[in-house]
Symmetry: C2
Amino acid sequence: MAQRTVFYVSDGTGITAETFGNSILAQFAISVRHVRRPFIDTPDKAHQVVREIAETGEREGRKPIVFITVIEPEAHRIVCSAPALVMDMFRTFVEPLEDELGITSNHRVGRFSDVSKSQEYSDRIEAINFTLAHDDGQSSKNLAEADVILVGVSRSGKTPTSLYLAMQHGVKAANYPLIPEDFDRGHLPPALKPYKSKCFGLTIAPDRLSEIRNERRPNSRYASLENCRAEVAQAEQMMRRDGIAWLSSTHKSIEEIATTILRDIRPDRLVY
Amino acid sequence: MAQRTVFYVSDGTGITAETFGNSILAQFAISVRHVRRPFIDTPDKAHQVVREIAETGEREGRKPIVFITVIEPEAHRIVCSAPALVMDMFRTFVEPLEDELGITSNHRVGRFSDVSKSQEYSDRIEAINFTLAHDDGQSSKNLAEADVILVGVSRSGKTPTSLYLAMQHGVKAANYPLIPEDFDRGHLPPALKPYKSKCFGLTIAPDRLSEIRNERRPNSRYASLENCRAEVAQAEQMMRRDGIAWLSSTHKSIEEIATTILRDIRPDRLVY
């Protein structure tokens, strides 16, 4: 498979260019070397990146692909002159937006808003703190404040999903393990009873679960396929009986799981 | 300020459309209501979204703006027919890429790769686990494995930044609080000595720190401006003396802090 070097150049973090470029390149059967170059906000830094792009093209004998989100006009002009296929993501869409909105864009440097003054940002940080304090059933305090409570057997993906929900969406996500005591009792942990409507279950294929657990505790009963099969079956039965919505994390990323959870139990959080 | 409703429509999570749309809209002085509509991968769901877009436009008397990343051809055609300013992010850049690469894109549904088979994905999950186990100086075990070790006074932003580095970049980020004992001794915590080159410091303006600490422990000595001033001064002095690179988190988001850390001490992680 042909390899290409792709640059993401920005006068900000470059995260937007990288997210977008990655998604679009996934449409092509090529192997990609990714290079992110953030904070390119002066002519000097822009010239330096252009040199790097030119050298890469010469070395590889193929034009690099460059996704840019550069606002600062002089740096923008210089980066656009690179000997490469330059995909100018902002400018392409700014003109139609200016026409539709009837106003001109700022074209200004320093798009970073001051996070110390942003309510949305402090909500995200508070959600992260809440989620950490309510990881793995550590605390039943303040569950009334939780937006979402994830339940599932140990290692089904609850912790990373909770943290993602908090970090990206400012969603306070507690999580509770389902353990043999719960299965014996045949019901969700008692602390969760009043909050059934905000519970969401994660399940996972027993063979995948066994693989993951074996990395932590090799050859334990905890990790054995037999035990994983039994725990998963009991957890699924309990969620079905208690009317908890759930999905399988086996082949899904935390981004996909989190988006599904929001769509299904907190659709209001997809509108803001 | 005029308000506009902006839709992010995707047959995937919609995160790419949302990230991109948010960045470009930040260039305009308008107030935006954001609506994310993920997993629009059938004609039925596409028709439903088009109806929602049309109703919104009628109710508000203004054309909605729609950012789309829809691959499935029939759903794509339907969403593009919405009475709105439709910004087709993928198609706009696919053609020039096809020309440059000399291959056609997949235009296929189900872009989701199976995460259970992705090394990059399991590295991210492993990094999250490592970071949680090494949060707030909890453990000095396996510090040799850490990619980055953040240091700073309590509430300077170490935990959210560490989690972001792990979750987005698969970077194993430990973090250590700097506490009065360290200041008395005048040196970094002894466990960190062998790893100075991967330490990075966070500092913060004393008045902001005092505000944040007051939310946790109102009117405590811990939160007092006087104590915050003293701790920050001592921490900065120590980092300067020990030659630790550092930045102030006061006005920076975790995304900006994380990108700066990678650029400064792990530039290799910006290339992959």
